[in-house]
Protein backbone atom coordinates (compact mmCIF):
# COMPACT_ATOMS: atom_id res chain seq x y z
CA UNK A 1 0.00 0.00 0.00
CA UNK A 2 2.74 2.39 1.04
CA UNK A 3 4.64 1.37 -2.06
CA UNK A 4 1.66 2.02 -4.37
CA UNK A 5 1.35 5.49 -2.92
CA UNK A 6 5.06 6.02 -3.31
CA UNK A 7 5.09 4.81 -6.93
CA UNK A 8 2.10 7.04 -7.70
CA UNK A 9 3.94 10.01 -6.18
CA UNK A 10 7.00 9.37 -8.34
CA UNK A 11 4.88 8.99 -11.48
CA UNK A 12 2.94 12.13 -10.69
CA UNK A 13 6.12 14.10 -10.04
CA UNK A 14 7.67 12.79 -13.24
CA UNK A 15 4.73 13.72 -15.45
CA UNK A 16 3.67 16.96 -13.77
CA UNK A 17 7.09 18.56 -13.47
CA UNK A 18 8.50 19.78 -16.73
CA UNK A 19 11.54 21.78 -15.60
CA UNK A 20 14.64 19.67 -16.39
CA UNK A 21 16.40 21.23 -13.40
CA UNK A 22 13.72 20.02 -10.97
CA UNK A 23 13.58 16.62 -12.61
CA UNK A 24 17.31 16.28 -12.18
CA UNK A 25 17.08 17.39 -8.56
CA UNK A 26 14.53 14.64 -7.95
CA UNK A 27 16.81 12.18 -9.70
CA UNK A 28 19.66 13.17 -7.38
CA UNK A 29 17.36 12.58 -4.41
CA UNK A 30 16.82 9.05 -5.72
CA UNK A 31 20.56 8.45 -6.05
CA UNK A 32 21.23 9.87 -2.59
CA UNK A 33 18.42 7.71 -1.21
CA UNK A 34 20.34 4.65 -2.37
CA UNK A 35 23.48 5.95 -0.65
CA UNK A 36 21.66 6.74 2.59
CA UNK A 37 19.76 3.47 2.52
CA UNK A 38 22.94 1.42 2.15
CA UNK A 39 24.72 3.30 4.89
CA UNK A 40 21.67 3.08 7.14
CA UNK A 41 21.70 -0.70 6.85
CA UNK A 42 25.25 -0.64 8.17
CA UNK A 43 25.04 2.27 10.62
CA UNK A 44 21.42 2.48 11.71
CA UNK A 45 20.74 -1.23 11.97
CA UNK A 46 24.06 -2.99 12.57
CA UNK A 47 25.53 -0.03 14.46
CA UNK A 48 28.82 0.06 12.54
CA UNK A 49 29.94 3.48 11.40
CA UNK A 50 31.64 4.14 8.08
CA UNK A 51 33.24 7.48 7.29
CA UNK A 52 34.59 6.26 3.98
CA UNK A 53 31.53 5.20 2.06
CA UNK A 54 32.14 7.71 -0.72
CA UNK A 55 34.93 5.33 -1.74
CA UNK A 56 32.38 2.71 -2.84
CA UNK A 57 30.24 5.39 -4.48
CA UNK A 58 33.31 6.49 -6.41
CA UNK A 59 34.35 2.93 -7.16
CA UNK A 60 30.97 2.27 -8.76
CA UNK A 61 31.06 5.50 -10.74
CA UNK A 62 34.66 5.17 -11.94
CA UNK A 63 34.50 1.45 -12.75
CA UNK A 64 31.51 1.79 -15.01
CA UNK A 65 32.70 5.20 -16.28
CA UNK A 66 36.13 3.94 -17.32
CA UNK A 67 34.84 0.73 -18.87
CA UNK A 68 32.22 2.55 -20.94
CA UNK A 69 34.14 5.73 -21.83
CA UNK A 70 37.59 4.21 -22.49
CA UNK A 71 36.77 0.65 -23.46
CA UNK A 72 33.28 1.09 -24.90
CA UNK A 73 31.72 -1.63 -22.79
CA UNK A 74 27.97 -1.78 -22.52
CA UNK A 75 26.94 0.23 -19.43
CA UNK A 76 25.12 -2.83 -18.09
CA UNK A 77 28.34 -4.81 -18.16
CA UNK A 78 29.91 -1.76 -16.54
CA UNK A 79 27.30 -1.97 -13.78
CA UNK A 80 28.05 -5.65 -13.25
CA UNK A 81 31.78 -4.92 -13.07
CA UNK A 82 31.18 -2.00 -10.70
CA UNK A 83 29.13 -4.14 -8.34
CA UNK A 84 31.59 -7.03 -8.44
CA UNK A 85 34.53 -4.73 -7.78
CA UNK A 86 32.78 -2.90 -4.94
CA UNK A 87 31.74 -6.19 -3.35
CA UNK A 88 35.28 -7.54 -3.59
CA UNK A 89 36.80 -4.33 -2.21
CA UNK A 90 34.26 -4.15 0.61
CA UNK A 91 34.86 -7.77 1.51
CA UNK A 92 38.63 -7.42 1.79
CA UNK A 93 38.42 -4.09 3.57
CA UNK A 94 35.76 -5.30 5.98
CA UNK A 95 37.72 -8.31 7.17
CA UNK A 96 40.37 -6.27 9.00
CA UNK A 97 38.33 -3.08 9.54
CA UNK A 98 35.31 -4.61 11.23
CA UNK A 99 37.55 -6.03 13.93
CA UNK A 100 37.47 -2.43 15.13
CA UNK A 101 34.56 -0.68 16.73
CA UNK A 102 33.39 2.79 17.70
CA UNK A 103 35.84 5.64 17.01
CA UNK A 104 38.48 3.23 15.74
CA UNK A 105 36.17 1.86 13.08
CA UNK A 106 35.39 5.46 12.13
CA UNK A 107 39.10 6.22 11.77
CA UNK A 108 39.74 3.03 9.82
CA UNK A 109 36.99 3.64 7.29
CA UNK A 110 38.06 7.28 7.06
CA UNK A 111 41.54 6.07 6.09
CA UNK A 112 40.10 3.79 3.45
CA UNK A 113 38.07 6.67 2.01
CA UNK A 114 41.23 8.83 1.85
CA UNK A 115 43.18 6.11 0.06
CA UNK A 116 40.48 5.65 -2.56
CA UNK A 117 40.25 9.42 -3.03
CA UNK A 118 43.99 9.51 -3.76
CA UNK A 119 43.58 6.59 -6.16
CA UNK A 120 40.83 8.46 -8.04
CA UNK A 121 43.06 11.54 -8.26
CA UNK A 122 46.34 9.92 -9.19
CA UNK A 123 45.47 7.13 -11.59
CA UNK A 124 45.83 7.99 -15.27
CA UNK A 125 42.77 5.90 -16.12
CA UNK A 126 40.50 8.05 -13.97
CA UNK A 127 41.68 11.25 -15.62
CA UNK A 128 43.04 12.53 -12.31
CA UNK A 129 41.91 15.91 -11.03
CA UNK A 130 40.57 16.98 -14.39
CA UNK A 131 38.06 14.15 -14.27
CA UNK A 132 36.67 11.51 -16.56
CA UNK A 133 34.64 12.72 -19.54
CA UNK A 134 32.46 11.09 -22.18
CA UNK A 135 30.55 8.62 -20.04
CA UNK A 136 27.63 7.50 -22.23
CA UNK A 137 23.98 7.64 -21.19
CA UNK A 138 21.87 4.58 -20.54
CA UNK A 139 19.30 2.80 -22.63
CA UNK A 140 17.21 -0.28 -21.98
CA UNK A 141 16.98 -2.01 -25.34
CA UNK A 142 15.37 0.52 -27.69
CA UNK A 143 14.25 2.76 -24.82
CA UNK A 144 16.69 5.61 -24.27
CA UNK A 145 17.03 6.93 -20.73
CA UNK A 146 18.61 10.15 -21.96
CA UNK A 147 15.63 12.34 -21.19
CA UNK A 148 15.57 13.66 -17.62
CA UNK A 149 12.10 12.18 -17.13
CA UNK A 150 13.04 8.66 -18.19
CA UNK A 151 16.20 8.75 -16.10
CA UNK A 152 14.18 9.93 -13.10
CA UNK A 153 11.81 6.97 -13.47
CA UNK A 154 14.70 4.58 -13.85
CA UNK A 155 16.58 5.84 -10.78
CA UNK A 156 13.44 5.78 -8.67
CA UNK A 157 12.55 2.30 -9.84
CA UNK A 158 15.95 1.15 -8.59
CA UNK A 159 15.49 3.09 -5.34
CA UNK A 160 11.99 1.72 -4.68
CA UNK A 161 13.07 -1.86 -5.34
CA UNK A 162 16.05 -1.36 -3.03
CA UNK A 163 13.89 0.09 -0.27
CA UNK A 164 11.45 -2.77 -0.69
CA UNK A 165 14.18 -5.41 -0.44
CA UNK A 166 15.93 -3.72 2.47
CA UNK A 167 12.67 -3.44 4.38
CA UNK A 168 12.09 -7.16 3.89
CA UNK A 169 15.61 -7.87 5.05
CA UNK A 170 15.13 -5.78 8.18
CA UNK A 171 11.92 -7.60 9.09
CA UNK A 172 13.59 -10.99 8.99
CA UNK A 173 15.86 -13.24 10.97
CA UNK A 174 18.86 -11.40 9.49
CA UNK A 175 17.43 -7.99 10.32
CA UNK A 176 16.85 -8.99 13.92
CA UNK A 177 20.39 -10.32 14.14
CA UNK A 178 21.73 -7.00 12.82
CA UNK A 179 19.80 -5.03 15.41
CA UNK A 180 20.97 -7.48 18.05
CA UNK A 181 24.60 -6.69 17.15
CA UNK A 182 23.77 -2.99 17.49
CA UNK A 183 22.23 -3.46 20.94
CA UNK A 184 24.83 -5.81 22.42
CA UNK A 185 27.42 -7.66 20.44
CA UNK A 186 28.19 -9.94 23.38
CA UNK A 187 24.58 -10.96 23.81
CA UNK A 188 24.20 -11.38 20.05
CA UNK A 189 27.02 -13.89 19.92
CA UNK A 190 25.53 -15.68 22.93
CA UNK A 191 22.46 -16.21 20.74
CA UNK A 192 24.62 -18.05 18.22
CA UNK A 193 24.94 -15.12 15.82
CA UNK A 194 28.25 -15.09 13.96
CA UNK A 195 28.66 -11.37 14.52
CA UNK A 196 31.94 -11.05 12.60
CA UNK A 197 30.55 -12.68 9.49
CA UNK A 198 27.25 -10.81 9.60
CA UNK A 199 28.99 -7.45 9.95
CA UNK A 200 31.10 -8.21 6.88
CA UNK A 201 28.00 -9.22 4.93
CA UNK A 202 26.07 -6.07 5.76
CA UNK A 203 29.13 -3.95 4.97
CA UNK A 204 29.29 -5.61 1.55
CA UNK A 205 25.58 -5.04 0.93
CA UNK A 206 25.97 -1.43 1.91
CA UNK A 207 28.96 -1.00 -0.44
CA UNK A 208 26.97 -2.63 -3.23
CA UNK A 209 24.17 -0.09 -2.92
CA UNK A 210 26.72 2.74 -2.93
CA UNK A 211 28.31 1.32 -6.08
CA UNK A 212 24.93 1.14 -7.82
CA UNK A 213 24.34 4.76 -6.82
CA UNK A 214 27.76 5.63 -8.26
CA UNK A 215 26.87 3.93 -11.52
CA UNK A 216 23.59 5.86 -11.75
CA UNK A 217 25.38 9.10 -10.98
CA UNK A 218 28.17 8.60 -13.53
CA UNK A 219 25.80 7.83 -16.39
CA UNK A 220 23.53 10.71 -15.46
CA UNK A 221 26.14 13.49 -15.39
CA UNK A 222 28.53 11.90 -17.99
CA UNK A 223 31.47 13.65 -16.33
CA UNK A 224 32.95 12.68 -12.96
CA UNK A 225 35.84 14.04 -10.95
CA UNK A 226 37.42 13.00 -7.61
CA UNK A 227 35.80 15.87 -5.70
CA UNK A 228 32.41 14.12 -6.04
CA UNK A 229 33.77 11.28 -3.90
CA UNK A 230 35.87 12.99 -1.27
CA UNK A 231 35.67 12.92 2.51
CA UNK A 232 32.90 15.53 2.63
CA UNK A 233 30.67 13.29 0.54
CA UNK A 234 31.16 10.48 3.07
CA UNK A 235 30.24 12.88 5.84
CA UNK A 236 27.19 14.03 3.91
CA UNK A 237 26.05 10.42 3.62
CA UNK A 238 26.38 9.96 7.37
CA UNK A 239 24.44 13.20 7.87
CA UNK A 240 21.62 11.98 5.63
CA UNK A 241 21.29 8.85 7.75
CA UNK A 242 21.34 10.73 11.03
CA UNK A 243 19.03 13.53 9.90
CA UNK A 244 16.55 11.15 8.31
CA UNK A 245 16.66 8.74 11.21
CA UNK A 246 18.93 5.88 12.18
CA UNK A 247 17.45 2.44 11.70
CA UNK A 248 14.68 3.74 9.49
CA UNK A 249 14.43 2.73 5.85
CA UNK A 250 12.01 5.56 5.05
CA UNK A 251 14.10 7.96 7.06
CA UNK A 252 16.89 7.40 4.54
CA UNK A 253 14.61 8.71 1.85
CA UNK A 254 13.74 11.76 3.91
CA UNK A 255 17.35 12.44 4.89
CA UNK A 256 18.45 12.18 1.28
CA UNK A 257 15.68 14.55 0.21
CA UNK A 258 16.52 17.15 2.84
CA UNK A 259 20.24 17.09 2.18
CA UNK A 260 19.75 17.31 -1.56
CA UNK A 261 17.16 20.08 -1.57
CA UNK A 262 18.50 22.14 1.32
CA UNK A 263 21.84 23.22 -0.25
CA UNK A 264 20.02 24.02 -3.50
CA UNK A 265 17.34 26.13 -1.88
CA UNK A 266 19.85 27.91 0.36
CA UNK A 267 21.71 29.49 -2.55
CA UNK A 268 19.58 32.60 -1.92
CA UNK A 269 21.72 33.16 1.18
CA UNK A 270 24.74 33.31 -1.15
CA UNK A 271 27.95 33.43 0.90
CA UNK A 272 26.14 32.54 4.14
CA UNK A 273 24.81 29.34 2.60
CA UNK A 274 27.07 26.97 4.54
CA UNK A 275 26.37 28.73 7.82
CA UNK A 276 22.60 28.48 7.39
CA UNK A 277 22.98 24.88 6.26
CA UNK A 278 24.98 23.99 9.37
CA UNK A 279 22.48 25.80 11.60
CA UNK A 280 19.53 23.91 10.11
CA UNK A 281 21.28 20.61 10.77
CA UNK A 282 22.09 21.59 14.36
CA UNK A 283 18.52 22.66 15.03
CA UNK A 284 17.12 19.44 13.58
CA UNK A 285 19.43 17.35 15.72
CA UNK A 286 18.58 19.28 18.89
CA UNK A 287 14.82 19.22 18.34
CA UNK A 288 14.50 15.80 16.72
CA UNK A 289 17.43 13.70 17.90
CA UNK A 290 15.83 10.53 16.54
CA UNK A 291 15.83 11.97 13.05
CA UNK A 292 13.19 13.66 10.95
CA UNK A 293 11.17 10.57 10.16
CA UNK A 294 10.73 9.35 13.74
CA UNK A 295 10.57 12.90 15.08
CA UNK A 296 7.78 14.04 12.79
CA UNK A 297 5.84 10.84 13.49
CA UNK A 298 6.21 11.47 17.22
CA UNK A 299 4.94 15.03 16.88
CA UNK A 300 2.01 13.74 14.86
CA UNK A 301 1.19 11.06 17.43
CA UNK A 302 1.57 13.48 20.31
CA UNK A 303 -0.79 15.93 18.65
CA UNK A 304 -3.30 13.10 18.30
CA UNK A 305 -3.15 12.01 21.94
CA UNK A 306 -4.24 13.99 25.01
CA UNK A 307 -1.73 16.47 26.41
CA UNK A 308 -1.32 14.57 29.69
CA UNK A 309 -0.45 11.37 27.87
CA UNK A 310 3.21 12.02 27.22
CA UNK A 311 4.49 8.51 27.88
CA UNK A 312 5.80 7.99 24.36
CA UNK A 313 7.91 11.09 24.81
CA UNK A 314 9.56 9.87 27.99
CA UNK A 315 10.58 6.62 26.40
CA UNK A 316 12.39 8.61 23.70
Amino acid sequence: MRYLFFIAAVLAAGFLISSPYKLQLLTFIGINTLLALGLNMLMGYAGQISLGHAAFYGLGAYTSGILTAHYHWSPWLGLAAAVVLAVAAAFFIALPLLQLSGFYLGMGTLGFGMIMFVVFRQMSLTGGDSGLVGIPGLSIGPLSLDSPRNYLFFVWAVAIISIFLCERLINSRIGRALRAIHDSERAASSMGIDTGKLKVHIFVLSAMLAAVAGFLYAHLVSFISPSSFDFLVSVRMVTMVVIGGMASVWGSLLGAAVLTILPESLTVFSEYEMIVYGLVLIVIMILLPQGLFRGVLDIYERAGSKPGNASSRCQG
Partner: protein, 269 residues
Protein backbone atom coordinates in the same frame (compact mmCIF):
# COMPACT_ATOMS: atom_id res chain seq x y z
CA UNK B 1 15.72 -36.28 41.80
CA UNK B 2 14.85 -38.76 39.02
CA UNK B 3 17.32 -37.16 36.72
CA UNK B 4 20.10 -37.49 39.24
CA UNK B 5 19.40 -41.16 39.79
CA UNK B 6 19.41 -41.74 36.08
CA UNK B 7 22.73 -39.98 35.78
CA UNK B 8 24.21 -42.23 38.45
CA UNK B 9 23.31 -45.28 36.39
CA UNK B 10 24.80 -43.88 33.21
CA UNK B 11 27.42 -41.33 34.21
CA UNK B 12 27.30 -39.20 31.06
CA UNK B 13 28.28 -35.64 31.88
CA UNK B 14 26.92 -32.87 29.68
CA UNK B 15 29.96 -30.75 30.32
CA UNK B 16 33.33 -32.03 31.48
CA UNK B 17 35.95 -29.52 32.56
CA UNK B 18 39.43 -30.99 32.80
CA UNK B 19 42.44 -29.32 34.38
CA UNK B 20 41.49 -25.84 33.24
CA UNK B 21 43.86 -22.95 33.99
CA UNK B 22 43.39 -19.30 33.12
CA UNK B 23 45.33 -16.23 34.16
CA UNK B 24 44.80 -12.57 33.38
CA UNK B 25 48.08 -10.66 33.39
CA UNK B 26 49.71 -12.42 36.32
CA UNK B 27 46.53 -13.08 38.25
CA UNK B 28 45.70 -16.75 38.31
CA UNK B 29 41.93 -16.73 37.88
CA UNK B 30 41.58 -20.49 37.57
CA UNK B 31 44.10 -23.09 38.61
CA UNK B 32 43.67 -26.72 37.48
CA UNK B 33 39.92 -26.99 37.92
CA UNK B 34 38.27 -30.30 37.04
CA UNK B 35 34.62 -31.29 37.35
CA UNK B 36 31.70 -32.95 35.55
CA UNK B 37 28.21 -31.55 35.16
CA UNK B 38 25.89 -34.59 35.15
CA UNK B 39 23.12 -34.61 32.56
CA UNK B 40 19.77 -33.44 33.85
CA UNK B 41 21.17 -31.91 37.03
CA UNK B 42 21.22 -28.46 38.51
CA UNK B 43 24.89 -27.81 39.18
CA UNK B 44 25.95 -24.74 41.15
CA UNK B 45 29.25 -22.92 41.28
CA UNK B 46 29.74 -20.93 44.46
CA UNK B 47 32.59 -19.15 46.15
CA UNK B 48 33.73 -15.72 47.32
CA UNK B 49 33.98 -12.79 44.93
CA UNK B 50 36.94 -13.18 42.61
CA UNK B 51 37.02 -16.95 43.07
CA UNK B 52 36.82 -17.48 39.31
CA UNK B 53 33.18 -18.52 38.93
CA UNK B 54 32.30 -16.23 36.06
CA UNK B 55 35.67 -16.91 34.41
CA UNK B 56 34.84 -20.60 34.47
CA UNK B 57 31.45 -19.93 32.98
CA UNK B 58 33.03 -17.80 30.25
CA UNK B 59 35.46 -20.60 29.42
CA UNK B 60 32.56 -22.99 28.90
CA UNK B 61 30.67 -20.54 26.67
CA UNK B 62 33.82 -19.63 24.76
CA UNK B 63 34.11 -15.91 25.57
CA UNK B 64 37.88 -16.50 25.76
CA UNK B 65 40.15 -19.56 25.54
CA UNK B 66 41.67 -21.41 28.47
CA UNK B 67 45.47 -21.27 28.95
CA UNK B 68 45.51 -25.03 29.41
CA UNK B 69 43.12 -27.85 30.06
CA UNK B 70 40.01 -28.66 28.13
CA UNK B 71 36.25 -28.34 28.11
CA UNK B 72 34.27 -31.21 26.61
CA UNK B 73 30.58 -30.95 25.75
CA UNK B 74 28.95 -34.38 25.45
CA UNK B 75 31.50 -35.97 23.17
CA UNK B 76 32.58 -32.76 21.47
CA UNK B 77 35.83 -31.07 22.38
CA UNK B 78 35.08 -27.36 22.75
CA UNK B 79 38.63 -25.99 22.66
CA UNK B 80 39.05 -23.69 19.67
CA UNK B 81 35.34 -23.34 19.00
CA UNK B 82 33.94 -19.83 18.95
CA UNK B 83 31.16 -18.68 21.26
CA UNK B 84 28.50 -18.61 18.55
CA UNK B 85 29.41 -22.12 17.41
CA UNK B 86 28.96 -23.43 20.94
CA UNK B 87 25.44 -22.00 21.03
CA UNK B 88 24.56 -24.07 17.96
CA UNK B 89 25.91 -27.15 19.75
CA UNK B 90 23.54 -26.54 22.66
CA UNK B 91 25.21 -24.24 25.20
CA UNK B 92 23.17 -21.18 26.19
CA UNK B 93 23.84 -18.52 28.79
CA UNK B 94 22.53 -15.46 30.58
CA UNK B 95 24.60 -12.55 31.86
CA UNK B 96 25.34 -11.22 35.31
CA UNK B 97 24.32 -7.74 34.18
CA UNK B 98 21.26 -8.42 32.10
CA UNK B 99 22.00 -7.89 28.42
CA UNK B 100 18.70 -7.69 26.59
CA UNK B 101 18.31 -6.21 23.13
CA UNK B 102 16.95 -2.86 24.25
CA UNK B 103 15.66 -1.63 20.91
CA UNK B 104 13.45 -4.68 20.54
CA UNK B 105 10.21 -5.95 21.99
CA UNK B 106 10.01 -8.82 24.42
CA UNK B 107 8.86 -11.13 21.63
CA UNK B 108 11.65 -10.03 19.29
CA UNK B 109 14.25 -10.79 21.93
CA UNK B 110 13.04 -14.38 22.04
CA UNK B 111 12.93 -14.47 18.23
CA UNK B 112 16.61 -13.50 18.11
CA UNK B 113 17.18 -16.42 20.45
CA UNK B 114 16.01 -18.72 17.70
CA UNK B 115 18.73 -17.57 15.33
CA UNK B 116 20.45 -20.96 15.31
CA UNK B 117 17.12 -22.77 14.98
CA UNK B 118 16.21 -20.95 11.77
CA UNK B 119 17.96 -20.81 8.40
CA UNK B 120 16.78 -17.87 6.30
CA UNK B 121 19.67 -15.81 4.88
CA UNK B 122 19.98 -12.49 3.03
CA UNK B 123 18.45 -13.69 -0.22
CA UNK B 124 15.80 -15.76 1.53
CA UNK B 125 14.72 -12.72 3.52
CA UNK B 126 14.49 -10.56 0.41
CA UNK B 127 12.65 -13.19 -1.65
CA UNK B 128 10.35 -14.06 1.28
CA UNK B 129 9.49 -17.48 -0.10
CA UNK B 130 6.74 -19.60 1.49
CA UNK B 131 9.48 -21.53 3.30
CA UNK B 132 10.71 -18.35 4.97
CA UNK B 133 7.20 -17.28 5.90
CA UNK B 134 6.53 -20.71 7.42
CA UNK B 135 9.78 -20.64 9.33
CA UNK B 136 8.98 -17.19 10.67
CA UNK B 137 5.52 -18.32 11.79
CA UNK B 138 6.97 -21.33 13.60
CA UNK B 139 9.59 -19.18 15.28
CA UNK B 140 6.88 -16.79 16.46
CA UNK B 141 4.75 -19.59 17.89
CA UNK B 142 7.73 -21.09 19.66
CA UNK B 143 8.65 -17.67 21.07
CA UNK B 144 5.14 -17.23 22.42
CA UNK B 145 5.31 -20.69 24.01
CA UNK B 146 8.56 -19.79 25.71
CA UNK B 147 7.16 -16.49 26.96
CA UNK B 148 4.23 -18.43 28.36
CA UNK B 149 6.68 -20.86 29.96
CA UNK B 150 8.41 -18.07 31.92
CA UNK B 151 5.16 -16.19 32.52
CA UNK B 152 5.74 -13.17 30.28
CA UNK B 153 3.17 -13.85 27.58
CA UNK B 154 1.15 -10.75 28.44
CA UNK B 155 4.18 -8.51 27.94
CA UNK B 156 5.13 -9.89 24.53
CA UNK B 157 4.75 -6.60 22.68
CA UNK B 158 6.33 -4.38 25.33
CA UNK B 159 9.80 -2.98 24.82
CA UNK B 160 12.19 -5.36 26.58
CA UNK B 161 13.98 -2.80 28.73
CA UNK B 162 10.66 -1.34 29.92
CA UNK B 163 9.98 -4.53 31.86
CA UNK B 164 10.51 -4.53 35.62
CA UNK B 165 14.01 -5.71 36.53
CA UNK B 166 12.99 -9.15 37.73
CA UNK B 167 10.99 -9.83 34.59
CA UNK B 168 13.97 -8.85 32.49
CA UNK B 169 15.86 -11.75 34.06
CA UNK B 170 13.05 -14.12 33.18
CA UNK B 171 13.03 -12.78 29.65
CA UNK B 172 16.77 -13.34 29.38
CA UNK B 173 16.21 -16.95 30.44
CA UNK B 174 13.42 -17.39 27.87
CA UNK B 175 15.69 -15.92 25.21
CA UNK B 176 18.49 -18.34 26.14
CA UNK B 177 16.06 -21.28 26.11
CA UNK B 178 15.01 -20.25 22.61
CA UNK B 179 18.42 -21.35 21.32
CA UNK B 180 17.35 -24.91 22.17
CA UNK B 181 20.15 -25.66 24.63
CA UNK B 182 21.13 -28.93 26.29
CA UNK B 183 22.77 -26.93 29.05
CA UNK B 184 21.88 -23.47 30.27
CA UNK B 185 24.49 -21.42 32.14
CA UNK B 186 23.06 -18.79 34.47
CA UNK B 187 25.35 -16.10 35.86
CA UNK B 188 23.88 -14.93 39.18
CA UNK B 189 20.24 -15.14 38.11
CA UNK B 190 18.94 -14.18 41.57
CA UNK B 191 20.99 -11.03 42.02
CA UNK B 192 18.72 -8.03 42.35
CA UNK B 193 15.59 -10.13 42.78
CA UNK B 194 13.33 -9.84 45.80
CA UNK B 195 12.25 -12.86 47.86
CA UNK B 196 9.07 -13.45 45.87
CA UNK B 197 10.88 -13.23 42.56
CA UNK B 198 13.64 -15.54 43.82
CA UNK B 199 11.02 -18.10 44.81
CA UNK B 200 9.49 -18.04 41.36
CA UNK B 201 13.00 -18.26 39.88
CA UNK B 202 13.56 -21.45 41.89
CA UNK B 203 10.31 -22.85 40.49
CA UNK B 204 11.32 -21.87 36.98
CA UNK B 205 14.71 -23.56 37.34
CA UNK B 206 13.00 -26.79 38.40
CA UNK B 207 10.64 -26.50 35.45
CA UNK B 208 13.54 -26.01 33.05
CA UNK B 209 15.35 -29.02 34.47
CA UNK B 210 12.20 -31.13 34.11
CA UNK B 211 12.02 -30.12 30.46
CA UNK B 212 15.35 -31.87 29.98
CA UNK B 213 17.82 -28.99 30.11
CA UNK B 214 20.83 -29.26 32.41
CA UNK B 215 21.56 -26.13 34.46
CA UNK B 216 24.89 -24.68 35.51
CA UNK B 217 24.36 -21.94 38.04
CA UNK B 218 26.74 -19.30 39.37
CA UNK B 219 25.01 -17.85 42.40
CA UNK B 220 25.54 -16.05 45.69
CA UNK B 221 22.08 -16.61 47.13
CA UNK B 222 22.83 -19.62 49.35
CA UNK B 223 19.19 -20.37 50.14
CA UNK B 224 18.47 -20.70 46.43
CA UNK B 225 21.62 -22.72 45.75
CA UNK B 226 21.04 -25.17 48.57
CA UNK B 227 17.37 -25.51 47.68
CA UNK B 228 17.61 -26.28 43.98
CA UNK B 229 21.08 -27.75 43.43
CA UNK B 230 21.87 -31.42 42.95
CA UNK B 231 25.58 -30.74 43.15
CA UNK B 232 27.62 -27.80 44.33
CA UNK B 233 31.20 -26.91 43.47
CA UNK B 234 33.01 -24.43 45.69
CA UNK B 235 35.78 -22.34 44.18
CA UNK B 236 38.28 -20.31 46.16
CA UNK B 237 41.19 -18.33 44.68
CA UNK B 238 40.68 -20.10 41.37
CA UNK B 239 40.95 -23.55 42.90
CA UNK B 240 38.43 -26.22 43.66
CA UNK B 241 37.80 -26.19 47.38
CA UNK B 242 35.04 -28.77 47.63
CA UNK B 243 32.42 -30.54 45.57
CA UNK B 244 29.37 -32.55 46.55
CA UNK B 245 25.71 -32.44 47.42
CA UNK B 246 24.46 -29.25 49.09
CA UNK B 247 24.55 -30.98 52.50
CA UNK B 248 28.09 -32.24 52.06
CA UNK B 249 29.31 -28.83 51.01
CA UNK B 250 27.57 -27.09 53.91
CA UNK B 251 29.18 -29.48 56.35
CA UNK B 252 32.65 -29.09 54.84
CA UNK B 253 35.00 -27.34 57.30
CA UNK B 254 37.13 -25.73 54.57
CA UNK B 255 34.06 -24.28 52.90
CA UNK B 256 32.71 -22.94 56.18
CA UNK B 257 36.05 -21.31 56.90
CA UNK B 258 36.51 -19.78 53.45
CA UNK B 259 33.02 -18.82 52.44
CA UNK B 260 29.87 -19.89 54.23
CA UNK B 261 30.68 -19.00 57.82
CA UNK B 262 29.58 -20.81 60.99
CA UNK B 263 26.04 -19.53 61.28
CA UNK B 264 24.95 -20.74 57.84
CA UNK B 265 22.72 -23.67 58.67
CA UNK B 266 21.22 -24.54 55.31
CA UNK B 267 17.74 -25.94 54.64
CA UNK B 268 17.21 -29.69 54.82
CA UNK B 269 20.43 -30.63 56.60
Amino acid sequence: MNALEASQETPLPVVRVEGVCKSFGGIQALNDVTFDVPAGSIFSLIGPNGAGKTTLLNLVTGSFPADSGQVVFGETMLNGRKAHERVALGIARTFQNIELFGSMSVLENVLVGQHVKTRCGFLGAMARLPRTIGEEREARNRALELLDFVGLLDSASQRSTDLPFGWQRFLEIARALATGPRILLLDEPASGLNAVETASLAELLEKIRKSGVTLLLVEHDMNLVMKVSDRVLVLNHGMKLAEGSPCEVQANEAVIAAYLGRDKAGPGC
